[in-house]
Subunit: 306 residues, 2 copies
């Protein structure tokens, strides 16, 4: 018997909880929730969990890599709003005998790299390792960028080539232990400066590519009520097109913006590698194509029961 | 081989992460972290996880009770700072076939009861049910109350009798399914209004009794560098003294304050049941006594490896 699927479950959760109302500008469903601050600013709140055997394999990943990636996955959600990460709460469920020091070393490295302060969390014994992080951020200059603002005619950008992390996992499984793709899988990078540059340049919608370009573009297009016509997809060296389309965890940003010249100027001013124009938003929300062909790939959904 | 113990592990985590510095007024170790807001206010951040088989037993607790308690455990940490809860991120790790609706119904009830808005979170498949919540709050009127401000001579208060939840768990295990103690275990109450009243009345230190009075008093005294001389412990009807001393999850608040009249007045003004004076803080940090006898009970520590 097939369950309702993760997206449908999230929709049911949203319906159950939405009567509570409140002050959040946007809640469940974007990369991060946005709530108003007393001074008129926007506070960003996000949470991401990594579970052993689901999101990582300790036979292939060092515990310090898991700690690193757990922070990056959350920082990337803040980056996708055009925000800066600030404070993390780190909650661990730890199986018997699992040594914590390596995982916290990776967490500390990553937190240091992104200027994140770990201010608390929780620890519990359990049977399987879970790393659950909640991260608070702020939008420094611009209003936050949601998934939902793309309009027909906007140009679609990605901040870099895709598929390196998926290729790295394939290589690790084949026994490789080094190289750029393996490194991309072990130590992914969140694009905070790129997110701010995109927001500055008037990005209308943004999402981080954590589930694969095909899936995350679908999310952005659906939230915005537009379609998307991709011309080509930049494939990372060592990866193949399938990995570039469906591999998550590259944490590149995908965004739409009406003015490509403004985008190039903002990235140049921030001394960032220019983002890659990959296509255009179109009126028809049914259209999701790459070089004229329908874009496949629904992405991974956890099997859940309501 | 015995591990370093949970408190020692938390101390090592704190040492590993503290070089990162930053703007937090207080981070790891209090009920909630306190970070400064741009308008000069104080944002409170806390996280708590409940794990099946560790914190609850689905043979004894309905999933909706687990959802309720997961919110309350976090709200109580905000209450213990004198704060008001605002926004929750709910992250679930869900074993195959576990139906989510009941748990989210309990979450929604509890969030509604405490004015908490669930703004996001994460969902993952896994092998054991984990409910990990991160909660943001604010201090509405007074500065937050830490664990560390108690001084010799301060009177020690609890907001109500203790042990009902532990007695309820004992009764559930014995096959009972109703009554005040069972209800106290299934649907514990967080003391938000009481925490604000205590802060208003000049409380010098505060903690929620989640691990048992003996343990949580020890935490408060150690953080403040004082001892504590208890005269008597208010035992909830149906509970015994041992349950009142060591049973967690009553979520009553324990606080110290120099002016008992101000405390009574603040609780009366807020139309709250008056808190119970149970003892006094003393100079000698070694002294932790109840009616002249050493207070036993280190409380539960998860077995962790560093």
């Amino acid at each position: 018997v097939s369950g309702p699927g993760e997206l449908e479950v999230i929709e049911r959760i949203r319906r159950l909880l939405s009567p509570l109302g409140g002050a959040a500008e946007v809640g469940i469903g974007d990369d991060a929730a946005v709530v108003a601050e007393p001074d008129g600013g926007a506070l960003l709140l996000t949470a991401d969990v990594l579970v052993a055997g689901v999101h990582f394999d300790l036979a292939l990943s060092d515990p310090s890599d898991v700690g690193w990636k757990a922070v990056v996955a959350n920082v990337s959600d803040i980056a996708a709003m055009g925000g800066e990460p600030l404070y993390a709460l780190v909650t661990l469920v730890v199986p018997p005998g699992f040594a914590l020091s390596g995982l916290y070393e990776g967490l500390a490295e990553s937190a240091g790299a992104y200027g994140v302060q770990v201010v608390g969390g929780d620890l519990s014994a359990g049977n399987e390792l879970c790393v659950s992080i909640a991260l608070t951020g702020r939008c420094p200059r611009c209003p936050p960028v949601f998934r939902s603002g793309a309009r027909a005619g906007d140009v679609i950008f990605v901040t870099g080539p895709l598929g390196a992390s998926a290729a790295g996992l394939r290589l690790l499984r084949a026994g490789e232990s080094s190289g750029a793709c393996v490194e991309a899988h072990r130590r992914p990078v969140a694009r905070v400066a790129e997110g701010i540059a995109a927001a500055t340049a008037g990005a209308t919608a943004m999402i981080d590519i954590s589930d694969g370009l095909a899936t995350d573009l679908r999310h952005l297009a659906a939230a915005s009520g537009v379609g998307a016509r991709l011309e080509e997809v930049p494939v990372a060296p060592g990866a193949d097109l399938e990995e570039a389309l469906t591999g998550g965890e590259d944490y590149q940003l995908l965004f739409s913006a009406p003015d490509p010249a403004a985008v190039q100027a903002a990235f140049e001013a921030a001394r960032l590698r220019p983002p890659l124009a990959v296509g255009v938003c179109v009126q028809d929300p049914i259209e999701l194509t790459l070089a004229g062909e329908p874009l496949a790939g629904r992405g991974y959904e956890h099997n859940l029961t309501w």
